[in-house]
């Protein structure tokens, strides 16, 4: 079949609007995953019940494929709970917990890279633990592992493509619908590929800018 972009032209705006779904899921997971990831990162070494729960969550989400987690949560669990979440709810929750699990390990490395002496100095000054975490440890920890965090975000943007498995109309899903109607694969796929590439490029450039901003020398 000849390459003909005119065939998919009418579908193009609809296809590109799939980017919105992709970004929505990635955005939710990036923000939720960072916050939860920090919480997990701070507590995964704890010996109490909370520590055990955190380690179990991290273990599960790193130990099983993302597609499985998504399908299990969206299709499997409702059979027991009777609660049928919307596609975006399922995607939001699973991607958030999945990102949090990976980010927690990265952030833990960052947290542990900060010399304990700084916390001790702050404790000795009477600073509260929460203020120490927010103002002393987290800024330095994030700076130390920023490249690894950006890697996670980049992976996240691309991994969102598996939401088409539970029926979310993201970029990949829209491509397959267009291909199904027009029998053209190359053109919509090319558009989808370029779109992902641009998203990731913007993200990694943003990472560079943040990295420069966080430098203190």
């Amino acid at each position: 079949m000849k390459i003909d972009f005119n065939v998919i032209l009418p579908y193009l705006p609809w296809l590109l609007r799939g980017t919105y779904v992709t970004l929505q899921i990635a955005g939710m997971a990036a923000i939720g995953g960072s916050v939860l990831g920090l919480l997990f990162g701070f507590s995964s070494r704890r010996k109490d019940f909370f520590g055990i729960v955190v380690r179990a969550i991290v273990d599960f989400f790193r130990g099983t494929p993302l597609v499985f987690q998504l399908m299990f949560f969206h299709l499997g669990l409702p059979q027991i709970t009777g609660w049928v979440p919307t596609i975006m709810t399922s995607a939001g929750i699973v991607f958030t917990l999945n990102s949090a699990s990976y980010l927690s390990e990265v952030l833990r490395a960052g947290i542990e890279s900060i010399d304990k002496g700084q916390s001790e100095a702050a404790i000795a000054l009477g600073v509260r633990k929460l203020d120490i975490a927010i103002h002393i440890i987290i800024p330095q920890a994030i700076r130390n592992v920023l490249p690894a965090i950006m890697n996670e975000f980049i992976t996240l943007v691309k991994e969102t493509s598996v939401v088409s498995m539970i029926g979310a109309s993201d970029l990949m899903r829209r491509q397959s619908i267009i291909s199904g109607t027009t029998f053209h694969f190359f053109e919509p796929l090319l558009v989808v590929g370029i779109t992902y590439y641009v998203l990731v490029k913007v993200l990694s450039l943003a990472g560079r800018v943040i990295e420069r901003k966080l430098r203190y020398d």
Binding site: Q118, E120, G126
Partner: protein
């Protein structure tokens, strides 16, 4: 007044402090000396509860810390501490290092905190270093920032944990000069140090420790001229 009563500290079954009974009176300067591993730093860290004693009591005036841990922030606010490794906040400029706790603990607004920070840094001779990050400072300058940071909180007690052990002789002098300026200004000063000459010069009393215990506590003159215990005599003989 600070008083440790029958304090014992173990780390995973290893005893690092035992039978510690000591009183530090207000306004006096104390030097805790002794060979490495004697438990000097641990004793100091028990005072502001950076280390929790395994047993015994820690009194700050009429507050007993092991029973009143809710009072800890208050006690720590009035006890400034300076560490061997400086422990400056690496991502903050010198002036922000000093202003941070003023804002977070004393709830000062930015302008007031900055004014005090500048004042304190000027006092330790660092008016030209306000905007520098810790890694741009020399060891002596870092330690002086750390001292300014502790003094900014207007403490009644200053705890120095081997403040010059990580410094070369020249920088040691600039830090000791600053410390000397604090002597007998009303603060209680407790210094863990290996600078015996300095201890002799500034301390009112010497606490000599060996093998997890306090061996001798006397006024400085007596300690250096007529040490009582054999171990203190030996320690002093090795020093000279």
């Amino acid at each position: 007044m600070i008083k440790l009563e029958n304090v014992k500290k173990e780390f995973q079954g290893v005893t690092v402090l035992q039978n510690i009974d000591v009183t530090f009176e207000n306004g006096k300067t104390y030097a805790i000396i002794g060979s490495s591993g004697a438990g000097k730093s641990t004793l100091l860290r028990c005072i502001n509860y950076l280390e929790k004693p395994t047993q015994g009591k820690v009194w700050h005036d009429d507050v007993e810390l092991t029973q009143n841990q809710d009072k800890l922030p208050l006690i720590r606010e009035k006890c400034g501490m300076v560490f061997q490794s400086f422990n400056l906040f690496a991502h903050m400029r010198a002036v922000d290092n000093v202003a941070f706790a003023l804002k977070k603990v004393k709830k000062m607004n930015n302008a007031d905190a900055m004014a005090i920070a500048v004042e304190q840094l000027t006092k330790v001779g660092l008016a030209h270093r306000l905007q520098n990050y810790p890694h741009q400072l020399s060891g002596g300058e870092k330690q002086r920032v750390a001292i300014a940071r502790a003094l900014a909180m207007d403490p009644q007690v200053m705890l120095f944990d081997e403040p010059t052990s990580a410094l070369d002789p020249e920088m040691t002098q600039e830090v000791l000069r600053v410390m000397k300026g604090l002597n007998h200004t009303g603060m209680t000063i407790i210094i863990v140090t290996h600078e015996i000459k300095f201890a002799k010069e500034v301390a009112d009393e010497i606490v000599y420790m060996d093998k997890s215990e306090i061996i001798e506590q006397t006024d400085t003159k007596t300690f250096f001229e007529t040490p009582q215990s054999a171990r203190a005599k030996e320690f002093l003989a090795n020093m000279i």
